[in-house]
Symmetry: C2
Subunit: 459 residues, 2 copies
């Protein structure tokens, strides 16, 4: 796992970086580290690698227990039969699988995707599916077709860091809506929309992860789904429903998708990264027909077409392997890890901490006692051989304290034993911070500006 | 080859579509075909599928000889050993190949890419390489980091349709520079740059395909390369050197890359789509270090990472198969096809036609006699069971006559016999058009507006 942490996901660009470098055209001098600085687009000005990437390079050492990354646990995959199937696929379909394909994705895979979505009650036609390079690309394409610079996008608070990064790259303004243990709060969404309307602003869409939320680890209550649909319909706001973990409910529970209830006002995003394998980068968007047409045109200019080869790999896997059994294996593996994490948190964490109890997915969202700052604490945690993602990474606006007392803990990848050990180390770090605080008061004054946390997160 | 033509590449959005649909906010009614129309970004307004897509659906019938598409001829690939190697790769490296990877691409592949580029005299460090989902994505990322709406990008006249489509999706203004049989004309580039400077405009970059140009089929003279580098350095304009065909010179000739001469002012784009297989969608950008950092950040928000799996496939192929021998096989196959096309053109075409004589690559650029219009003629050509891409597709500005008398003929995919037959049919169509014109005068008044030609082109 040489590539484990320093390179496994999205580090959002730093926030709060002034755009003066472009607003005031800059004549390069020999002293400039980047002689192309004056050439970048406005959207690029804020794209800087966070200093904390360096920390995560350290965190990828084997002695560090990483509760940071979102890498799926793949050891359950049947490599023998995958290898056999793949060799056969190349022999029988190689000439097509190695050739250019449709920008929309192969017809075979789009049909299979409809079968997968049917498990969650979605009735869809393959014509309305667009295959993408992971659902990250679907997010990128949705944002590309809808968002001009300055447009408002609504998201949950907190939200998936890769989505925030995409919205930022299109210079959208992200407005986040509060959540509780039952997911995003419909009344808060309504209030936010009214307030925006009063300012003359209409958001382009509301981005939501209803099931086993990343990073919050909560699931949107079923009654709230209908309420959200109603609020969005009333305000004429499109919903982007991102559902990579929907089939990973630990008790096999399936929640009704919003797409099923309102096909014309929901763009649904799916992925094989969690139910099969992320290295194939195969995701999709299911969209109302006219939107799908725009998505395909946008995708064509972005990559010509998604890799035909990996689409054939996924199609064959779905056709010939026990993929439902594999999802069951994943669920069991993740449930065992979730249980290990919750047990360790209950046993080791100091008083004043609280955390979510995910019924599926990959993540626990942890609140630490008042006065602690998870971002400031991270270097010390890594020194004590445990890593996590500070909560600030999941908020579009830096400063104001959003996320300061929060962190995301992943239980998807390490073994249960490593998870237990990681939480034990984290608890020790927290105890030490609290002790320092009791002795010296607040030792971590919040910086008023500067680069924002990264998040080596993956989908 | 079920997917052959209607789905094999880039159809640029229609040009000249008014943007009023967004400038005047639109309240959806039940009559709207697209109730999301009022939501799209400005860049999306002009994205419409051309009516000629329907024509190409017809053109994909087996009885039509397609000289339109850019699909490589893959039959020379050794499927047996590819299948074996792939199965072994899954058994030994499956857990890594199926997992998330670095946004920059795997270190192994980036090292191999440096070995490939060394064949063209490029000395590069793997740190400066970014692997992308085909070089189309590299183009997309380069445009993303450099171009704000309204920024000027320079390109050759004509230029690769997929590049024009990407530039349009970032709302860049494309200014095209004339070419002749020795490629783009440095003095014309200088004149264009002076004229832009007089208007207070600095182009973000100059996009060029020096070798075996798509669609023009010409190669930039070696002396001109130094001149172009000098003109660009003088005007402080970055060069984007797109070189997918560089190793496909029919006599094994290798031209010096511009990147070799000026590493700090050239972003070089490469691809395995023509030298191995396009269905793997593996391309790359080699960029000055600071630019590479921005490219990786942009790519991360676009797809998280390129498919690890296909990167392992390509790495293994380069490590264990006779890839140089394979490139030689491709060269021979394409030379045979080029020869068939040039012979057929000389034998069958009516007087008044002229065409380029490519020394490598996939394309011949054909000028038809005055008074004919290749776009207007296309439906009749398809009726006569031959297809091509009208020249207008390769110009950013519609109207003004650019490309009207031009067409791109591909010799990459059909057999030599089919190529000969296709050219014979094309000649008959041209004869008939000329006959009509002699009898009735100009029968194809040029439309003053309306959707622009598509181009089912691939890289």
């Amino acid at each position: 796992m040489r590539q484990s942490l320093h390179c496994q996901g999205t580090f959002p660009r730093s926030k709060g970086v002034p755009m003066a470098s472009r607003a005031t055209p800059h004549q390069p001098t020999q002293r400039d580290l980047d002689r192309h600085l004056h050439r970048y687009a406005r959207r690029t000005a804020g794209m800087t690698a966070s200093e904390i990437r360096a920390l995560f390079a350290v965190a990828s050492r084997p002695e560090v227990v990483s509760l940071a990354g979102g890498m799926p646990y793949l050891s359950a995959l049947p490599l023998d039969s995958l290898a056999d199937g793949l060799a056969q696929m190349v022999m029988t379909d190689g000439m097509t699988a190695l050739q250019y394909g449709s920008a929309q994705g192969t017809p075979e895979l789009r049909e299979r995707i409809c079968e997968v979505m049917a498990l969650e009650g979605i009735r869809a036609h393959p014509d309305d599916v667009t295959v993408t390079v992971g659902s990250q690309m679907a997010l990128d394409m949705v944002t590309r077709i809808f968002c001009d610079p300055g447009d408002v996008v609504l998201a949950e608070a907190p939200s998936y860091v890769g989505a925030l990064s995409t919205f930022a790259s299109y210079q959208a303004q992200v407005v986040q809506v509060p959540m509780d243990d039952e997911g995003v709060i419909p009344a808060e969404l309504d209030t936010t929309l009214r307030s925006l309307r009063a300012q003359g602003r209409t958001p382009k869409f509301f981005y939501t992860i209803p099931n086993f939320h990343n990073p919050a680890g909560v699931t949107l209550a079923v009654t709230r789904r209908a309420q959200l649909l109603q609020v969005c319909a009333e305000h004429r706001v499109l919903i982007v429903e991102d559902n990579p973990y929907g089939l990973l409910g630990f008790d096999g529970q399936i929640y009704p998708t919003m797409r099923s209830s309102d096909p014309d006002n929901v763009v649904y995003l799916g992925s094989f990264s969690k139910t099969f394998a992320p290295g194939l980068r195969t995701g999709w968007a299911l969209a109302p027909h006219a939107v799908r047409e725009k998505l395909v045109l946008a995708a064509e200019s972005a990559t010509l077409c998604p890799p035909t080869f990996t689409q054939f790999v996924v199609s064959r896997y779905l056709a010939q392997q026990d993929w439902k059994g594999q999802i069951k294996s994943y669920r069991e593996a993740y449930r065992e890890r979730r249980d290990a994490m919750l047990a360790a948190l209950a046993q080791h964490l100091p008083p004043g901490c609280r955390w979510t109890h995910p019924a599926g997915g990959f993540y626990v969202w942890l609140t630490v006692p008042e006065g602690l700052d998870t971002k400031a604490m991270l270097p010390r945690a890594i020194t004590h051989r445990v890593a996590y993602i500070p909560g600030t990474a999941f908020y579009a606006e830096s400063g104001g304290g959003a996320g300061d007392r929060l962190m995301r803990l992943s239980f998807c990848y390490p073994t249960p034993e490593r998870i237990t050990e990681g939480v034990r180390r984290l608890a020790a770090v927290l105890e030490r911070e609290l002790e320092l605080r009791r002795t010296f008061g607040n030792v971590h004054p919040r910086p008023v500006s500067g680069p924002q946390s990264p998040a080596p997160d993956t989908a």
